[in-house]
């Protein structure tokens, strides 16, 4: 059965259609092409023609022209629109004309660089010239490194390697730095938050070294669709950047099905779970031979769904290789094997976290199932883009969970279909991050007294501080690195902490083997002792978590349940930056806080029925984070007017509402921002609702929330008053089981009071 037939059948299926909120069909789009720009080196044309390319899509031609005019560019087009041409062609053209010219390619992951390099190799092979393209990353053998440093025309690497392997050793890369003409950064939409703030500083360091060696490279950047590509590009590079977004690539017809599982308990507002629904829809696709990818939000869900789908197609020997799971934490070789299987049609169904969202080439799939809203519009489009490439019809199912954000999206499909995707925010001047990169930069090259670091604020003060700490030594008008350490090795670009936990399978006592790894912040949640850890749908129980050595020992098990840990978060005040009065006598403030996270217990949840079987304790140290926050303290009079647990329930309701509203109006991913409430806050000593940036140092979300605080409260009030439920449901203030029967009304009163005098902007 093909996709069109399946779509017809489903549209005639009443049972199915009664849960479909919206069936949107995006018509196919024709290609728009133009001839090759004259500025391109003519030797490239026969090579392109040999590959069946006789014209360029409009966005390709425009970006190449802009680049060859000397502008820094950012290209924004969806998956499979041929954006690699936008950088490969000008780079090859430049090297053909000047064999000394060099280019640096940055990809966020090693897998992506492997993909792109193979394409480049083919083109260079057809050109029949000696242009050396080399990958330089952790996997590059040390024997080959010297050759790459001296002779590589195009050096392909990732930000981490640039940060710790290339920049601190720049004197070994003289040829590259002296002749660097282009810096290509692909998938820049992934560089938001901490990673992006770090990359912006790595690029500041790179530019600084290029100046030292007398080169001024141009940037060619590529991004998937986000709201602010030009802004992101210029924040990353510190330069104005030309935006190219006139996508000329063709696109097949695409069906977008918004599916809201039926309500099973109207009073409590509880719907059928999104996992069982996904199980049946993905299962239906699998049975009908439609190759599909299913995206789930957590690693846990991925494993549960993989198990269900595998069970459907197991052969008598128990093998089910046509169905694969894919997520962070699998070893690279295993991931490559799955990608290969997808590309060559050996895998029919894959269940993945957002790990497959990035541009890894997995060929074209016919269908995509989103088990729950991935959190941002940008991510949803990225994931949906995995199905259907240039010509064929494809179908995307969005299955809403009962979470409020999902319900908002499924009930407002137009918001999703018409709203521009999120902003990618980053803050290169986050003090934590900036300070780290000042160290690295000083290590790489002494700072002159009057020197700027990109457009970082008050470089002089930071340098003076570091010299007081005796990390720098100020003499002769320069700040010299004067410490023994190698600063880049202590700084991880991707998270606040650098250590990862390794996961060791000890089922076979004679052969312990490492089957995966996990970052420090997630490990307490998923790898605590007695946790059920799932890997490719096999169940393991964690026997021991060695927190200091960063090792988890697991053993295969046949448990009929999985586990889910509870995270406890507490907050304390570091600094207040700004305070504003709140109507009725409260205060709204912006400042810095310390967030302490602690996992205290876990639940055992039975497969299939998803009922809770029991609880267990977790004994692990807490993790600390300093970040920016904004908060409201409630007026005393208002608080005094509540009796019993009404205040607590009302505040919980407000927090739940803000969790829905914040990602929508701050245009960020839900996990980037956290909302907490404290009936008696150690920060203010009063009942307080707190919003904070969920990453060390913050990326500017709290500042933004502080600026639009009235709007956030207005929108929260609107959602809760518009909701028709009796006393709270998952789509507004939270189910009554959580916030009590008085929670919804209390939340409304609190919000009314806080928005009383100040009209929304």
């Amino acid at each position: 059965m093909n996709v069109t037939q399946l779509a017809d059948r489903l549209r005639n299926d009443e049972n199915f259609m009664q849960n479909v909120v919206r069936w949107e069909v995006q018509p196919a789009r024709e290609a728009r092409t133009v001839p090759f720009p004259d500025s391109l080196d003519a030797r490239l044309l026969p090579v392109l023609q040999k590959r069946g390319i006789h014209q360029l899509y409009t966005h390709q031609a425009h970006s190449i022209e802009a680049t060859l005019r000397g502008e820094d560019t950012v290209i924004v087009t969806p998956t499979a629109s041929g954006k690699t041409m936008c950088y490969n062609l000008p780079v090859l053209s430049a090297i053909l004309r000047d064999p000394d010219a060099r280019a640096l390619y940055l990809f966020p992951t090693k897998a992506l660089s492997a993909d792109q390099v193979s394409e480049l190799y083919e083109m260079i092979g057809d050109l029949g010239v000696d242009i050396k393209t080399c990958t330089y990353d952790g996997d590059t053998p040390s024997a080959a490194r010297k050759a790459v440093r001296q002779a590589g025309h195009i050096v392909v690497t990732n930000p981490d390697m640039l940060h710790s392997g290339i920049l601190p050793h720049h004197t070994k890369w003289v040829k590259l730095f002296e002749n660097l003409k282009y810096i290509v950064v692909d998938e820049i939409h992934t560089y938001r938050g901490v990673f992006g703030s770090n990359l912006a500083n790595v690029l500041r360091r790179l530019t600084r070294l290029c100046e030292f060696y007398g080169s001024r490279p141009q940037y060619i950047l590529c991004s998937a669709t986000i709201a602010n590509p030009a802004e992101l590009a210029s924040t990353l590079t510190g330069r104005p950047v030309t935006l190219i977004d006139d996508n000329g690539a063709p696109m097949g017809e695409r069906h977008f099905v918004f599916y809201n599982p039926p309500v099973v308990n109207r009073q409590l507002g509880i719907r059928e779970g999104c996992i069982p629904v996904t199980r049946s829809i993905s299962g239906m696709l699998l049975k009908n031979g439609i190759r599909a990818i299913t995206f789930a939000r957590s690693r846990l869900t991925v494993e549960v769904l993989t198990k269900y789908l595998k069970d459907m197609v197991r052969d008598p020997l128990g093998n089910a290789g046509r169905v694969r799971g894919y997520r962070g934490g699998y070893l690279p070789t295993e991931r490559r094997e799955i990608e290969h299987g997808l590309r060559y049609g050996e895998v029919d169904a894959v269940v993945s976290t957002n790990a497959l969202e990035l541009g890894v080439d997995i060929g074209s799939l016919d269908a995509c199932v989103l088990c729950g809203y991935p959190g941002t519009i940008a991510a949803a489009w990225q994931q949906a883009g995995r199905a259907g490439r240039r010509r064929s019809t494809s179908i995307v199912f969005f299955i809403a969970s009962s979470s409020a954000l999902d319900q908002y999206i499924v009930n407002h499909p137009d918001y999703f279909l018409r709203q521009s995707p999120e902003n990618a925010l980053l803050n290169p001047d986050n003090l934590y991050i900036l300070l780290n990169h000042f160290k690295c930069a000083a290590f790489e090259l002494p700072f002159r007294d009057d020197e700027d670091f990109g457009n970082a604020p008050s470089p002089g003060e930071l340098l003076e501080y570091l010299s007081e700490q005796n990390i720098l030594h100020h003499v002769g008008g320069k700040y010299h690195w004067s410490a023994e350490d190698f600063p880049a090795s202590e700084i991880s670009l991707r998270s606040a902490t650098s250590e990862n936990f390794v996961i060791i399978d000890i089922t076979d006592p004679a052969r312990h083997r490492v089957i995966g790894e996990m970052d420090r912040f997630t490990a307490p949640m998923l790898l605590h002792e007695n946790a059920i850890y799932m890997h490719e749908a096999k169940l393991y129980q964690v026997e021991k978590l060695d927190f200091d050595a960063c090792k988890a020992y697991i053993r295969q098990t046949e448990a009929g349940y999985y586990t889910d840990a509870d995270l406890n978060v507490s907050l304390s005040l570091l600094d207040i930056a700004e305070e504003k009065p709140v109507p009725g006598g409260g205060v709204c403030a912006l400042g810095e806080v310390k967030v302490t996270a602690l996992v205290t217990m876990f639940k055992k949840i039975r497969f299939d029925t998803h009922e809770t079987l029991g609880f267990g304790p977790v004994r692990l140290p807490e993790t600390d984070m300093h970040t920016t926050a904004m908060w409201w303290t409630l007026p005393d009079e208002l608080c005094a007017s509540f009796t019993g647990d009404a205040l607590k329930n009302g505040m919980l309701g407000v927090a739940n509402l803000l969790r829905i509203v914040c990602p929508l109006y701050l245009m960020c991913a839900p996990q980037d921002i956290a909302v907490q409430y404290q009936v008696r806050s150690p920060i203010t000593d009063k009942p307080t609702v707190i919003i904070y940036d969920n990453c060390p140092g913050g990326i500017g979300l709290s500042d933004k929330a502080f600026g639009m605080r009235s709007l956030l409260l207005e929108k929260a009030l609107q959602i809760v008053t518009d909701c028709t439920c009796e006393c709270g449901c998952p789509s507004c203030a939270g189910p009554a089981g959580e916030i009590g029967t008085n929670g919804k009304q209390a939340a409304i009163r609190i919000l009314r009071e806080l928005t009383k005098d100040e009209p929304a902007r």
Partner: protein, 382 residues
């Protein structure tokens, strides 16, 4: 909270005392020199091109002159990367009046260019550079410093004899690891007392920068001068042993010398060393190596004699059995004898003292395979 307080709040390290900022404009780095008597360098007179060619043939210049070797060692603020600085460069050379050691010290960062100029000038005057681990550490680091100061690093590319590699070949078997300190104590017999451990050198320099008291670097200067003197002593000593392997007092070293010579293609000299080592603790290995060397040279009969002697004196474990079995299977065609030797080797393999665990399995499999094949061949013949 102002920026400074914020920095303090997020930074775990406690504030430290600021450095005094008494800046002095200088136009040179600190240069000192000392001369040590030739008698401190026994065997210097013996140094010649032929001996050094035995040691490291790839780097010895055609017009070799022992007075045109530059000995060099640096003291640095870190282990590499462009933020590590060579704050002290010591060089040594043998002259008419003795061994002269010069030390160039940058008293602060602005003096670095002067220091590097001295280094470039000195390098230009010599034909051969002699260091210990300079190939992968000191020279690349200096090259990086030249680049950082926009100076041409070409003078650094002198023919380079890095003693680490020949020293490892000679002494690793006995000593396990080969730092300059190990060699001084256990080869040259002149252990240092009160020496500053290399790992403490950077901290000393940073303390000096903070206080400006040059005496804090006395230990570093002494340590560096001693390293340079040791380079020359070691070179003379190694050259002497290459000419007179019989004077090596440890059988392990003599055996290692044989292997080193064999590697550089000096087979006659190598066999001499193996023979010298045949009666000591590594006798089995030495005999095995000697026989192998004969066999490779095509002198199979010599090799056979040695293997037979090894079996008689119960040396070398199963090796001589296997080698003789091969010889009989493939050369003489005496399959019965080959089978017998293989069988005896298999029995011997289970004498527990013979082999460490792990290596047994492969040998056992190989023996079994040979045993079965010989059986088949014999059966075919019949």
């Amino acid at each position: 909270m102002n920026l400074r307080d914020k920095l303090r709040a997020i930074d775990a390290s406690p504030p430290r005392k600021p450095a005094p900022s008494a800046e002095v404009q200088r136009t040179d780095c600190r240069c000192t020199s000392e001369i040590r008597p030739v008698s401190d360098f026994p065997g210097f007179g013996e140094l010649n091109r032929e001996t050094l060619m035995l040691m490291q043939p790839d780097c010895i210049p055609d017009c070799f002159d022992p007075y045109r070797i530059l000995y060099m060692d640096t003291e640095t603020t870190g282990l590499g990367g462009s933020g590590s600085v060579a704050f002290l460069v010591g060089v040594g050379r043998m002259g008419e009046n003795g061994f002269e050691i010069r030390q160039y010290l940058m008293r602060d960062y602005p003096e670095e260019p002067y220091l590097l100029e001295h280094v470039a000038e000195d390098f230009g005057r010599f034909d051969l550079l002699c260091t210990f681990n300079g190939r992968s550490f000191d020279v690349p680091l200096l090259e990086s410093r030249f680049r950082m100061n926009r100076m041409n690093p070409a003078p650094l590319r002198l023919p380079h004899l890095d003693l680490l590699y020949p020293a490892r070949r000679l002494w690793k078997l006995r000593l396990g690891h080969c730092t300059l300190g190990d060699l001084e104590a256990r080869v040259l017999g002149i252990p240092r007392t009160g020496d500053l451990p290399g790992s403490e050198v950077p901290q000393r320099y940073f303390s000096y920068l903070k206080t400006g008291q040059l005496c804090m670097l006395d230990d570093v200067l002494t340590h560096n001068a001693q390293d340079i003197a040791t380079l020359c002593v070691l070179l003379c000593r190694m050259a002497h042993f290459y000419r007179h392997p019989e004077e090596l007092c440890h059988q392990e070293d003599t055996f290692s010398m044989g292997r080193a010579l064999e590697k550089t293609g000096h087979h006659t000299e190598a066999r001499r060393c193996y023979r010298l080592a045949e009666h000591g603790r590594v006798g089995g290995k030495a005999s095995g190596a000697l026989a192998r060397s004969w066999r490779r040279a095509g002198e199979t009969e010599e090799a056979v004699k040695i293997w037979q002697r090894m079996i008689e004196t119960r040396k070398g474990g199963v090796t001589p059995y296997i080698e003789l079995a091969k010889y009989h299977e493939h050369r003489t065609g005496d399959l019965e004898t080959a089978l017998d030797l293989t069988r005896r080797a298999m029995i011997l393999l289970y004498e527990p003292a013979l082999y460490a665990e792990g290596s047994v399995q492969d040998t056992e499999n190989a023996l079994k395979y040979r045993y079965d094949r010989l059986k088949r061949k014999i059966a075919q013949k019949e």
